[in-house]
């Protein structure tokens, strides 16, 4: 039991919940209990989670603002779709999906490194504008491509993966993405990355290779954005560059901010929630009412950021934060708190007992080891 207590449950709860959800949903879909609209929703949720988790690495952990995440996704979507069109008659469905995922991810990762390079010289606001520019460049290039290559302004027709279990593949890929990001974040490298976020100069001074870590984060993050793009191209019949505009990047950013910066579990929940609301509200709110949704997001974004960051509200936040509110409900019994039962005889030490005993102790000035200045008064 002691072993179970020591495991950081926060790290694993997302795996367990996601895996359980995948299994349950898979069983449901094979039993035929899911409508095709539900399956489409699940695919979208999986794609959003992957995007939010990957952006969370850049924004929440590295501390750089990227406004071009949809650009990486766009690269993945177009390349994945094109691969599917070209290779499907030759290789068959599954190998094509595999090749498309790898290819889309890797090419997006290459672009991630290319965009990461200016990130080494620029930071903060300047980097945000470069990533924004990158997203627009990618979109504009695909938009104006010739009809034979990437479909131009009409978009690229992709063979939709007509099997109903695409969402299971997507969820498994999300699990893979989580394993990679969680392990990266909770490792020595992850601590280096968060230290760059907290203070880049101090991180550099402690010998952290800032260049390497920034490139790693950009590379991994854009890889998963590319993979999400490939899934998108498989989930839809066409890939249209107009969908990957600046607003889409912002929507992913909203997910990350809503979930809490630097919290992967939060990003997952926020991504699932926002996508669910998006799809559900699309059917309820039609016409000019649809914009109410945007208004709502904008208000939430502003209020949340002000609440979480305003220096004037710091006292209020500390008084009423969620974990403290929950702590009130927990029973706190002082009798159950035990001292740490350390077994001192087992603690390895380099000092031999003989050496300690052989020190000459002068009787005239008694040696008091823990005499604090307060006691002297």
């Amino acid at each position: 039991m002691a072993g179970l207590k020591n495991i950081k449950w926060k790290k694993y709860v997302s795996y367990v919940v996601l895996a359980a959800a995948t299994v349950i949903l898979a069983v449901l879909s094979f039993a035929g209990a899911l409508k095709s609209s539900d399956i489409y929703l699940l695919e979208k949720v999986a794609i959003s989670i992957m995007l939010a988790v990957s952006l969370s690495m850049v924004v929440g952990f590295l501390g750089e603002l990227s406004l071009g995440h949809a650009g990486f996704m766009c690269i993945g979507a177009y390349l994945g779709g094109k691969t599917a069109v070209l290779l499907e008659p030759v290789l068959g469905e599954f190998p094509t999906l595999f090749v498309a995922l790898i290819l889309g991810g890797i090419i997006a990762a290459v672009f991630g490194i290319v965009i990461g390079l200016p990130a080494l010289r620029l930071r903060g606001d300047y980097l945000a504008i470069v990533t924004l520019a990158f997203g627009e460049i990618v979109r504009s290039v695909f938009m104006n491509s010739s009809d034979e290559s990437f479909g131009g302004s009409l978009g690229l027709d992709t063979p939709r993966f007509d099997k109903e279990y695409l969402f299971i593949i997507a969820l498994v890929l999300v699990l893979g993405c989580l394993v990679v990001t969680q392990n990266l974040i909770h490792s020595k490298h992850g601590r280096a990355i968060t230290s760059i976020r907290d203070n880049e100069i101090a991180a550099k001074a402690t010998g952290i290779n800032v260049t390497k870590y920034k490139l790693i984060v950009f590379c991994v993050s854009s890889f998963f954005a590319g993979v999400a793009g490939v899934l998108y191209s498989y989930s839809n019949y066409t890939v249209q560059s107009a969908n990957f505009d600046y607003n889409y990047s912002i929507e992913i950013l909203v997910m990350v901010v809503l979930g809490g910066m630097g919290s992967i579990n939060g990003s997952i929940i926020a991504a699932a929630l926002i996508t669910f609301l998006d799809v559900k509200l699309q059917t309820i709110l039609t016409g000019n009412l649809a914009v109410l949704q945007d208004l709502f997001y904008a208000l939430i974004l502003i209020l949340l950021v002000i609440y979480n960051n305003a220096p004037a509200l710091r006292g209020f936040r500390e008084k009423y934060n969620i974990s403290k509110l929950f702590a009130r409900f927990k029973k706190h019994n002082p009798a159950t708190v035990k001292d740490d039962e350390a077994k001192w005889d087992r603690v390895p030490t380099k000092i031999k007992m003989d050496e300690v005993l052989s020190v000459d102790v002068q009787v005239t000035s008694p040696y008091t080891p823990d005499k604090s200045p307060k006691e002297e008064k």
């Binding site: 924004v59 501390g63 603002l65 200016p118 010289r121 620029l122 903060g124 606001d125 300047y126 945000a128 504008i129 470069v130 924004l132 520019a133 990158f134 627009e136 460049i137 504009s140 290039v141 938009m143 104006n144 203070n199 100069i201 101090a202 001074a205 600046y246 912002i250 950013l253 901010v257 910066m261 000019n288 914009v291 109410l292 945007d294 208004l295 997001y297 904008a298 208000l299 974004l301 502003i302 950021v305 002000i306 979480n308 960051n309 305003a310 220096p311 004037a312 509200l313």
Partner: protein, 290 residues
């Protein structure tokens, strides 16, 4: 001949960008934040012109109403959304600004709908001289913005408030110790930026009369790019960047082979300039301290 027409067109487009870029750059210089919502102030100004013109039919009255409304709106946004975050991380402020931008766009859509409105500000016709055909509005835009930018430069250089602005942008703490009311200076900066945005909205409607709730989005991003190219925080830099952007855009739009890639070309120029000079053409390099 064609080249001269293109250049004049580019200069007029560029001066519009420069007006917007000035708003970005002044706010950045003084409040140290990127006001993403600045582009949408243009759109609000455009709708204000539309409303006033459909009531009175007078474009000058429309422009005045737009300037007044945009100034009030800009100051209100600063007070409500940005002021509580002074001293917070730049990322938080940036995200709030993005939120405000969305809020303005969706509010405009709720009030005016998605369909584009036609606002015929003034049909000035063309001016034919020495074989050139120059639309008059380009000259009006160019002239007006030159006057505005000159006045602005003189204001910043020679008035007490302008000098206070420079002082706040150099060192906020020291400026406060010298008796400058920093909050007031920031408010004035937002007011000036928003007024310039209203003018830019007027010029844009002169060029093409269709008005939607995303009128300011793309010009906003481009002007922002122009401000960064020129060196954000520097007033001459914003003018230079804006003009450069406009001329590049006009030239690339006349070449059929690259015309569809105009946006991409402008952004590639941004990336190249930032890689060569990370603080823009006229930007000052700040040494970072721990």
């Amino acid at each position: 001949m064609k080249l001269i027409e293109t250049l004049i067109n580019g200069l007029s487009m560029g001066s519009t960008y420069a007006m917007i870029a000035l708003g970005y750059t002044m706010v950045y210089g003084i409040a140290k934040m990127l006001n993403f919502a600045h582009g949408d102030i243009i759109m609000v100004g455009g709708y204000m012109i539309f409303v006033t013109m459909s009531a009175t039919g007078n474009p000058i009255l429309g422009l005045l109403a737009a300037v007044v409304f945009c100034v009030i709106l800009g100051v209100a946004i600063e007070k409500v959304a940005y002021k509580p975050l002074r001293g917070a991380s730049p990322l938080a402020v940036l995200i709030t600004a993005i939120g405000v931008s969305y809020l303005l766009q969706s509010t405009a859509q709720i009030i005016f709908g998605t369909a584009s409105k036609m606002v015929q500000v003034a049909d000035l016709g063309n001016w034919n001289i020495a074989g050139l055909t120059i639309p008059i509005y380009t000259l009006v835009t160019l002239g007006c913005s030159m006057v505005i930018m000159t006045v602005l430069t003189l204001f910043v250089k020679y008035t007490k408030t302008g000098r206070a602005m420079i002082a706040v942008s150099e060192d906020k703490g020291a400026a406060q110790l010298m008796g400058i009311n920093v909050n007031k200076i920031i408010m004035i900066t937002f007011a000036i930026g928003s007024a310039l945005a209203a003018f830019a909205g007027f010029f844009m409607l002169m060029k093409s009369p269709s008005l939607t709730n995303t009128l300011g989005a793309m010009p906003g991003i481009k002007a922002f790019t122009a401000a960064v190219i020129g060196g954000i925080g520097s007033i001459p830099g914003a003018m230079l960047g804006g003009i450069l952007m406009g001329v590049v855009e006009a030239i690339s739009l006349t070449i059929p082979a690259v015309a569809p890639y105009t946006d991409a070309i402008e952004f590639i120029i941004l990336i190249i300039i930032l890689l060569v000079r990370p603080t823009g053409i006229l930007g000052k390099k700040r040494r970072e301290k721990v």
